[in-house]
Symmetry: C2
Subunit: 109 residues, 2 copies
DNA sequence: TTGCCATATCGTATATCGACGATAGACAAT
DNA sequence: ATTGTCTATCGTCGATATACGATATGGCAA
């Protein structure tokens, strides 16, 4: 379809430093945590509510408790979410530092 | 370990509108495109170079040409990257609109 | 202790990812 | 037309994601 004339493309061809691999892995890890609609919704939920026990999250999602628990585990592993034991429940909340890091990495893209 | 006293958690408990499902899927689709270090590096490469033919990307990455092509396909499907046929080559570049959308969605989290 | 509740983990099935080599298709040059 | 180059797609493999129900764990209350 689109047929560009030669040389209209690829404006800069000087040698480019390879983007830092560790940095790419950092960002990929954080974005991967958000790479599923259920996890996006969980994060939104936590941001709206400040914090939230697991059971409330399960109620809001059309997923089994065990599935939600797995998503929460992934979010915890990414660092985006923290979980604190609060008696018989677990209270989840956003890790503001990790969220800020994600926002900065994306904004600086 | 960390043992919060009851009621120090879950500060807001009013009814919360379910985050928009379509919106969550939108963001998940974009973040998923970046959820792999190789794709993050490709995006960085394209941002640095304005545009870039496929072959140059392959040279920068420790991956087979077919693998890079697959990652590019995923990036195209997410909308983050556009590819224009330029004679025998394909010139890839960032879709600024999609990138702006991603940045806004993340910033507004 | 016993039982109850909330959460995590296990086990399993299916689907998708991510990698590669091989091959097909498109285009330019000869 | 033939050849060579560049890119996309196919086929395949192992690894991992995602979902669920069943079960284990941990804390609280009686």
């Amino acid at each position: 379809m689109v047929k560009a004339k030669s040389q209209t493309c690829c404006t800069t061809s000087e040698k480019l430093a390879l983007p830092d691999v560790a940095w790419a892995e950092d960002l990929a890890k954080l974005t991967w945590a958000l790479a599923h609609p259920a996890r996006v919704r969980i994060v939104r939920l936590l941001l709206n509510r400040e914090s939230c026990v697991c059971g409330e999250i399960v109620e809001e999602m059309p997923l089994a408790q065990s599935t939600v628990s797995q998503h929460l585990k992934i979010l915890k592993e990414s660092g985006l979410v923290k979980g604190e034991i609060d008696g018989p429940r677990v209270c989840y909340c956003i890790n503001a530092d990790a969220m800020a890091k994600l926002k900065k990495l994306i904004a600086d893209l």
